[in-house]
């Protein structure tokens, strides 16, 4: 029982129960609002009965040529709505938009190398570890760049894992 709709500014005032979770980052306002201003169709919220926020996903589409891709910036679910496959639903929505509307080649995301539960979940959703990004998180922890190829990448070239890790300054996009 979920209504998935586009995220709007007022949702920022209603997502405390989701963001108080220690793994969910609360970004500064210009970050959220830049996403809303530039990629509103990549920013969705799931609402339960009584207009409670169950979770949300924010992302963007960027790149050039065969690097044109959807990116998951954050996906999170409130503790009381976990273990109901909501994150999967939100991810599928973003993948669908990247695939069908923006005709992207792949979707990617970054995850802390220590966040085993999240890595396992992304793997279940079809993502593979494309490369390791050294000290990606505040110069301390490594990040994993995970990717899933979309229908436009017929040969699945975008997800062939890199053999060596990269540093944050080698990344094409933030």
């Amino acid at each position: 029982m979920t209504t998935i709709r586009r995220f709007c500014c007022n949702d920022l005032l209603r997502f405390a129960s989701v963001n108080l979770d220690h793994l969910t980052e609360t970004f500064n306002m210009s970050f959220y609002m830049t996403y809303l201003a530039r990629w509103p169709h990549y920013f969705h919220v799931a609402e339960g009965p009584g207009n409670r926020i169950m979770g949300y996903i924010m992302g963007k589409v960027e790149g050039q040529g065969e690097s044109w891709h959807g990116h998951v910036t954050a996906v999170t679910v409130a503790p009381e709505y976990r273990r109901q496959q909501l994150a999967k639903k939100l991810m599928n929505l973003l993948e669908d938009i990247s695939d069908k509307i923006d005709k992207a080649y792949f979707v990617d995301l970054f995850v802390r190398a220590s966040n085993t539960p999240a890595i396992k979940m992304y793997e279940k959703l079809g993502y593979v570890i494309y490369r390791r990004v050294l000290r990606y998180y505040s110069g301390e922890e490594d990040g994993l760049d995970m990717r899933k190829a979309l229908s436009r990448d017929v040969e699945k070239k975008s997800i062939i894992p890199l053999k060596r890790p990269v540093t944050p300054d080698e990344l094409e996009y933030d």
Binding site: M1, T2, T3, I4, R5, C8, C9, N10, L12, L13, R14, A16, S17, N19, L20, D21, H22, L23, T26, F27, N28, M29, S30, Y32, M33, T34, L36, A37, R38, P40, E47, G48, P49, G50, N51, R52, M54, P79, E80, Y81, R82, Q84, Q85, I101, N115, T116, P117
Partner: protein, 863 residues
């Protein structure tokens, strides 16, 4: 630009501007007509290329109730700009419903539900269309509550029995079809849809309670193991009368014998039973023994369920985590009922135990934050608050957990950071907002342009923001109050309080927004203004939770109106005390500025009016109380404001011609009023207060306020008087009447200094005695309250037993290690240290004031 190049984006700039102008209340239909005309002309010549332009076009038409025109456009060529079918259907459904074509709209919502079977909002709209209920599409305004009530409003009275029945039949048939077609067994929507239909039947006929109870039981049998069960069913339970709610609970309890065979599911079901009891308010009907028994059972369940989380990553929520929150709720209720402090300490121990096992559980941290606040261990509360990592927009929605307590505390450095960070965040956003709005425009997301402007407005009207804007300078004034020069430079930076007077004038007509998220607050303090533990035990209406927004709005308005007068009144009081009063014959020679006296009098009149009195009557009240003719009780909960009033009244009397109405006793009379009011009230409070360690909360916050507000402002008046009395080399020789004035004033000031000093010395001694009392004794007192025979301690013992000999094979390495690190004595020590820090800060404030007064005493002795 549009005329030059004819580009869509330039036209949309004009259209968005018009729309904003209309939304802000400037202009109306004509402007909208103009916007529509511009768009129409552009579409005819160039077409439209951006989906967002089309959305704006629809909203312009909607604002004019031209739903038919919008539907025509949606059905035409331009409609293809919307590439997601469901998005298009949602717009179509809404337009049809607003146009009153409910049958067609219902069909559209059916289509949406066929595409997205789990879309709850679509289902509610679908029902709204079937029942021809327009309230489903009521639009929001800027000050609509950010967390609307869970109860879905609906109007059914206009329907005949026959129409209602046929609608219900149609809806039920459709829901059954959805249920049959649902490929995914975990979809909750069809089941909740069934519940919603039964709820509406209850609202319409009033005799459908049994069916609703039955539907709720069915829902439990399918989804009772989910953590969201209680929040899912809350709105449905609300329509049941209390006896039916109990019947539902009884039936659920009987079910508890047939829990799932899957352990995690069975645990989920058990927790749901407990949460449902809480939701219905049944916990408040249980006896003390039953409550204790229930808490013990929950603690046992928590311990036996721990092995289920053995292999979980430490970052994942553990199974049964919620149990400790419920145990805490029960223990706090036991404390409320029995006033046995042991239960309160036990509640703290339970949560600290939970955090020892998994340090990330934010629900425990929030509960602890409130328990520590109540226990006077505010530094611990603040530490817990900081560990929640509340930043950016969360400061607007979550800081209510700590801000009110900090405002009444002596932890000025922490409070200052809290206010600074919050105000910086808000002001930064207001500054950036225009650029971000322009960014949305540049990326042709025109609907966001409107949204961003409205959002900024919502934040600008935030009640919390306005309170912080007033409290931040008042904190500065409190911090500088022991040094008049410092205070004057602070006042100068505040334009002598003039801007705040403006705020006070405006607040009555300003719309306020309430953006705080109160859902995570504990039951005993559902809003910032309410704390049940401060009063005697009573039943609580728990379902629905009270809606106190209206009450809050009045409180906040009154608070800001009153408090924002303070900086100006302090400024004027200093001014008033900085010149010598002379009688009428020499007024032309006086240094007094009559404007000061007039303005201060006007503000005193306003202040008195806010307290519900005329100026003269308010003066009578304070004089009456100071002479013991009236009790302090007449001040009610506004005691700080009354004492402030007395302080400012005295300052005004120093330089006013018409203040001598109190039996000709002018200056010494008003000095005496303030001195005795402060002395008697503060010392009275002090004598009634027990040691902090034995009496949570108590009157410490009010004591801190008394010393740091009215007493501090009175201290400033004294400082200004001393400065006036001191001989200054530059001034010409004083006349005889000036000498007399100085002599009168210096005598009054000497007495006032003596009076304040003696009060502060007693307060400082009270704090110091508690700080000095041996730490180990206090810790023993806390821990031993859990080890008495009978009463508190049973839950604690269960947790202690688990921690003393953890079964490593069952619990795994991580949990066992965590258990071994558990130390209740450390928790006790933290509480004691936390309380001591508050007392030390308070003592420091008192000492600084004593020191300043002693210097003044030496100075005035020279006069």
């Amino acid at each position: 630009m549009y005329k030059l190049v004819g580009e869509e984006r330039f036209l949309l700039w004009a259209v968005c501007s018009i729309q904003l102008q209309v939304l802000c209340g400037n202009g109306g239909e004509k402007l909208l007509l103009l916007a529509e005309g511009l768009l129409k002309k552009h579409v005819a010549s160039h077409g439209l290329h951006e989906p967002e332009a089309l959305i704006v076009y629809f909203s312009i038409l909607e604002q004019q109730a031209k739903y038919g025109d919008a539907l025509d456009i949606l059905g035409g060529k331009l409609g293809s700009l919307l590439m997601i079918e469901v998005d298009k259907l949602r717009i179509q459904g809404k337009l049809l419903a607003r146009a009153g074509d409910y049958a067609a709209a219902a069909n559209v919502y059916q289509k949406i539900l066929e595409l997205c079977g789990d879309d709850w909002e679509a289902f509610l709209h679908y029902l709204g269309c079937l029942f021809e209920d327009e309230s489903s599409w009521a639009s929001e305004t800027i000050n609509s509550p950010i967390n609307p009530p869970k109860y879905v409003e609906c109007k059914l009275t206009h329907l005949t029995d026959e129409v209602f029945n046929s609608c219900v039949e149609n809806a039920s048939a459709f829901v059954q079809k959805l249920q049959a077609e649902a490929s995914n067994d975990s979809l909750r929507n069809p089941c909740l849809a069934h519940l919603e239909i039964e709820r509406r039947k209850c609202l319409f006929r009033k005799n459908n309670d049994d069916n609703l109870v039955e539907a709720l039981l069915q829902y439990y049998s399918r989804f009772g193991h989910l953590a969201c069960f209680t929040s899912d069913v809350e709105a449905f339970l609300q329509v049941l009368p209390p006896e039916k709610k109990m019947e539902f609970l009884d039936k659920l309890m009987k079910n508890s014998n047939s829990l799932s065979v899957v352990p995690t599911r069975a645990l989920g079901q058990s927790i749901t039973l407990l949460k449902t009891q809480e939701l219905i308010g049944n916990m408040f009907n249980l006896s003390v023994a039953e409550l204790e028994g229930s808490a013990v059972q929950m603690a046992e369940l928590y311990c036996t369920s721990l092995p289920l989380s053995k292999d979980l990553d430490p970052q994942e929520s553990m199974h049964g985590e919620e149990l400790l929150s419920i145990v805490c709720n029960v223990l706090v209720q036991l404390f409320w009922r029995t006033r046995d402090l042991g239960y309160f300490i036990e509640a703290i121990m339970v949560l600290e135990f939970g955090l020892t096992i998994r340090r990330y559980t934010f629900q425990y941290k929030i509960l602890l934050l409130h328990l520590y606040s109540y226990f006077g261990a505010l530094p611990l509360a603040y530490e817990r608050y900081k560990s929640l990592d509340v930043k950016n927009i969360l400061m607007e929605t979550v800081s209510h957990h700590i801000l009110p307590q900090m405002l009444a505390s002596p932890l000025w450095a922490d409070l200052s950071n809290l206010l600074k960070d919050y105000l910086k965040f808000m002001d930064d956003h207001f500054r950036e907002s225009a650029d971000l709005t322009f960014l949305a425009y540049r990326h042709r997301n025109y609907s966001k342009v409107i949204e961003f402007v409205q959002f900024k407005e919502r934040l600008q009207h935030s009640n919390q923001y306005l309170v912080a804007r007033v409290e931040a300078p008042i904190l500065q004034l409190k911090q500088g109050a022991d040094n008049i020069e410092e205070e004057e430079s602070i006042l100068e930076s505040l334009k002598c309080g003039a801007d705040f007077i403006e705020l006070s004038n405006e607040i009555g007509s300003k719309s306020l927004t309430f953006n705080e998220d109160f859902q995570s607050r504990p039951w005993w303090t559902p809003t910032t203004e309410k704390n049940y533990l401060l009063g005697p035990f009573e039943g609580i209406s728990y379902c629905p939770k009270e809606n106190l927004t209206k009450e809050r709005e009045e409180n906040v308005r009154g608070f800001i109106e009153r408090k924002s007068l303070l900086p100006r009144m302090i400024y004027l009081s200093i001014q008033s005390a900085s010149v010598l009063y002379k009688d009428n014959s020499e007024i032309n020679d006086s240094l007094a500025d009559p404007k000061i006296s007039t303005e201060l009098k006007a503000l005193l009149e306003r202040y008195a009016k806010m307290l519900g009195f005329s100026l003269n009557d308010a003066i009578d009240v304070v004089v009456g109380v100071s002479r013991g003719l009236k009790s302090y009780e007449v001040f009610g909960s506004d005691v700080i404001d009354w004492l402030n009033f007395a302080v400012f009244f005295n300052a005004w009397s120093l330089n006013s011609h018409d203040s001598g109405r109190q039996g000709g006793e002018r200056t010494p009379g008003s000095w005496h009023v303030v001195n005795s009011l402060l002395k008697n009230y503060i010392l009275g409070k002090l004598r009634s207060m027990g040691p902090l360690i034995q009496s949570p909360q108590g009157d410490l916050p009010i004591l801190v306020k008394l010393v740091t507000e009215p007493l501090a402002w009175h201290g400033l008046v004294i400082q200004a008087c001393v400065r006036t009395c001191l001989p200054s080399g530059k001034k010409k020789k004083k006349s005889g009447s000036t000498d007399q004035s100085i002599s009168l004033l210096s005598n009054a000031v000497r007495d006032a200094i003596q009076s304040l000093c003696s009060v502060l010395e007693e307060v400082a001694k009270w704090s110091q005695d508690q700080i000095k009392s041996p730490e180990d004794n206090k810790i023993d007192l806390l821990v031993s309250s859990l080890k008495r025979n009978g009463g508190a301690g049973k839950v604690f013992n269960i947790l202690e037993t688990l921690a003393s000999s953890p079964n490593e094979t069952e619990l795994g390495d991580r949990i066992s290690q965590a258990l071994r690190s558990w130390s209740p004595v450390d928790v006790g020590r933290k509480i004691v240290t936390g309380q001591c820090r508050v007392l030390s800060e308070f003592w420091r404030i008192c000492e600084s004031k004593i020191k300043s007064l002693k210097t003044l005493k030496q100075q005035i002795a020279l006069v």
